[in-house]
Subunit: 338 residues, 4 copies
């Protein structure tokens, strides 16, 4: 890190800062500028909180130099991580994975119909929520374990691996019993106990970016899982919260190439939550592919008008089938398959 | 709610929408405008998700009329809620409560010294974290139950009730054994399982606004706790995330009068997290009082330069003592005490 | 518009609101709900400010129903607007236009070299700034009329039409003498005098979205130009300001399909300003095409390391040439040419 | 500035960067860390654009050390600037100035009534818009010079100096003929030609923070005026645009103490625009005083329900008079007068 001193910092303040750096086993590197003195801290300061330095008398601000995550970074592992599910699904390779299905598991018929339809259209995984984080306590909260059982049944019939959300550390074991991929939702991206528990669950983890999380914080959320020894992590851009209300969220597609530069993890884009509007999902799905996403999350429902959640952003079977055809063309144009 | 139809919606689409409203036991109220048709939905639609209507063919958008929370609203309970702790602490009355203490419990000496100092300066509660939500897995994560025991010891000595954070549903019982007020942190404001668990814990709950949570979502988080039968909830403005980087967060002080209009719950302001800088805490503390806050959270540390977290925003004992004097003058100017 | 009354509004307040509606020549349409009364206002209230209603006693809030712009809307003009420049450039048709060139005109050689290179690679227009809006008064402010003359010279040689920024109402006449398209920059999107002046200039106008402008405000900026009788307006998404600092701005690509639903105007995407980083420009250019953009702005410089502004986001000639090839493939995949 | 090199930067890249620094007459100061090399640039680099360095091969990012403004900074001028208007109004001293009046000048009677009422209640200046920046071209655009004449008449009668907005460089001379303080509105904060023109007008300038402007950008806007030789500049916090829609804008009151640390200029707070709601103006006015504001802008109208703009946030005469009494008490509590 670099410590920038205040313009009127005294020599005593400067010496106090230097002493503190040395106490921590690091080396100070002082540059006296015309207007400001700056002190570089040499050594791996990743485990060291910048706060105490910021609190020292005479300090104007701290500039971090090293990225605060390590296991998630490209510097640490230059090769792209590929996550294999079952015999033939690979996430992070040239083939783009498509995770399709309803927002929530609502019934056996709803789920099985959807699983068959998305399979027929070419989806790679089946998604569906059994535990639903809802803003209001009065909204439908999901079918819980009954939903997980239906997901397992749909997998048994179609062969599609399952991705489903887990909301609480206490539920990780239960969800991991059924799911192929554990999803950590946007509202739980900084639920650190949940991340740690997922790190020990032995299943791949998909972490959705929080509504106001920076990309660096998203990488640090991955670091919580990776640090437990679970190296099968993928990151998902699903829209951030901004002042614009024309869309439910603002899909920050630049996150895809940025994260691919910073990390070796597969990057997922979710144009369904990212826009919140069915009419926008096709164009943003194609844009996600063009931006370089390794996988996509697309909500599909047999009858969106009757969906218990996220109906406005769910595609019908026909719309999804048509979109998959367009998606294949764009994938080919950027040298990938789908 | 009001359903605004698309400008080219057909009569069949309109009738489909009406039919759906009636199916749900509500009454449609159709207004045909020159350019648009709108349909008012009469009845308590609070438990009804707007999504399915938004997904109906011919619908342009849904305009909610009723606020989605009920138990938290002033309409439901016009009188201000007062929360009593022990014999003489009341939050929500004319006396403004001051919750002071370190960000994290670090050691017996650090905590007891601070407890004595803030008590002497006039603080009402002792705050301190035993479970710390940290962005990086490599940062100090708190002393856990050992920290809770130290808090209890500090209470025994000073008589100050304790407010401390709980991060996981599985820890609620443990934390509630020691704490007088359970704090749900900003990153957990939409950790719905945690909120529900706090609703059953029999202790007052302080909910901090999420970094990108709207005030309506904050009220809905309270609703999760209230709906479990726990009516002792207070809401805390602690800064939101914006584009401005001069401060750690942007303290949205207008939230104080807005929430006091909308709800009957006591409102807390946290100028320490809201600014992230010691030099800004005094002026924003005074501004919080002038804005009408019922309580304040102020971080205090015996030696901020050595604090394991949040040193840059912690006051020294002397700074806190001086601030309390200024705060009393402003409280008096707005007809309150401190 | 719809007027939602407060839950405790009195009959006298209700009558006052009704009277005011009638005074304005509109018809009130009252619905008494169980908890709230709402009053629909029937008639074209587009020219009527909602403020006075919001200020009436008993009013909780106003819900606009009609979009506040008219000439820019698809309802008003369902067919897509096509803007023709010279003999063969059409913006808004199946062929995607590429506006390429340096951020700022710096010298004759720099500009002519770039013009030839982008022409050879297939660009449709030449862009370059002669008047530069700079955050700091100490930064390079542009070559002014000398720059315009160089742009005209480059057009004479290459045949590429010119798009260049105008910053002040007093400069519109001068810039229009040289430019084929007048660009209103992001910082001037709500410089209403400038918009009005551009509306009278007889040249097509490209309006860039302000850093924190909603899409509705962008359409209203277009309305200022359209209302002067100039129907040749195109809108440009160039990134908005959010909390995320990994990119210079957050390119909100959903704006492309949203604006195409709302308006008939051609939509431009600017991945150069939208990301601020050269390494991100190619993927976001392809994503812009996949999202449906009618035109692109791409900054190109003979030697980005020596550019006087925006070097970090400028492509070299080779990078641009390579990107154009990839772009053609993606355009073809979505049924367009480039 | 500090230049942080990429982790894999080559010696040739490093040398290229060093060469470039030396070409610009500055001195490089190289620190080789274990994982990264950083190069400090010694000398006043304020006039040097960071862009070209950012564009150099091998550079990861640039960290500015010096603040980019000079004339506006406390380092340059430690003493607080005081702006004197007429014989007895001083802005920036112990007495807090109150700028009160209608959003827009609508008629002679409306303005004179208001001027008398705010004078009687203790206001220091009269505010009122003659040129109104309106989001929609169909909204009331102000009375222009007729409005300015009414303002001058109100001043003649009450003795209150006038603050009024100027929207266009071409209008500066006209507005300066009537006004005591030229206001640059939020939408024009980066209208650099307007700022420059105001710098030559010989009248004090009040610059409102843009809706998404950082505080650093606000200081740079001041720098445009100061650099023309006009040292009478004040800065105004009036709310920024965030995701929260409960208020019209989010009043960022921390801006007051931050700007007072960074600059020597008087700081104004505008709780009327900052909240957009009459019921919130009193508490946020008191909070602004407690936060340390040197002046306040408060909208007052004889009949807010009939106001042509900003009625919902305008106070009645009675409300303003009552607020002034409360404001005096809070000012006294923080050692100031009003």
């Amino acid at each position: 890190m670099i410590i920038v001193l205040k313009s009127h910092a005294t020599p005593a303040e400067r010496d106090g800062i230097i002493q503190r750096i040395e106490e921590l086993g690091l080396k100070p590197h002082v540059s006296e500028g015309e207007e400001r003195t700056i002190i570089g801290v040499v050594g791996d300061d990743r485990g060291i909180d910048a706060g105490p330095f910021e609190a020292l008398s005479g300090v104007d601000r701290i500039v971090p130099i090293l990225r605060p995550y390590k296991l998630a970074s490209r510097d640490f592992k230059p090769d792209a991580t590929r996550i294999t599910l079952g015999n033939d699904v690979v996430i992070g390779g040239p083939k783009i994975a498509v995770m399709a299905g309803p927002c929530a598991v609502e019934s056996r018929e709803q789920l099985l119909q959807t699983a068959r339809a998305v399979k027929a259209a070419g989806a790679t995984l089946l998604r569906g929520g059994a535990f639903k984080p809802r803003t209001s306590p009065y909204a439908f909260q999901g079918m819980a374990e009954d939903g997980l059982k239906l997901l397992a049944e749909a997998r048994a019939e179609t062969g599609l691996p399952i991705v489903t959300e887990v909301m609480s550390p206490g539920d990780v074991e239960l969800v991991a019993k059924y799911a192929d991929v554990l999803q950590v939702g946007a509202r739980n991206m900084q639920n650190f106990n949940l991340l740690r528990e997922c790190g020990s669950a032995g299943k791949p983890v998909l972490i959705k970016r929080g509504l106001s999380a920076t990309l660096e914080e998203l990488c640090l959320a991955a670091e919580y899982v990776l640090a437990q020894g679970n190296r099968q992590v993928m990151l998902c851009e699903r829209g951030i919260r901004t002042f614009e209300k024309a869309t439910r969220n603002t899909l920050d597609l630049s996150a895809v190439p940025v994260l691919k530069e910073w990390t070796h993890l597969p990057i997922v884009a979710d144009p369904s939550h990212g826009t919140g509007k069915r009419s926008l999902v096709p164009s943003m799905t194609l844009a996600s592919i063009a931006a370089g996403a390794d996988a996509l999350i697309i909500e599909v429902h047999p009858n969106p008008e009757r969906a218990m959640s996220d109906g406005p952003q769910s595609l019908t079977f026909d719309q999804f089938t048509k979109l998959m055809q367009q998606a294949r063309a764009v994938a080919a144009a950027v040298g990938r398959t789908l």
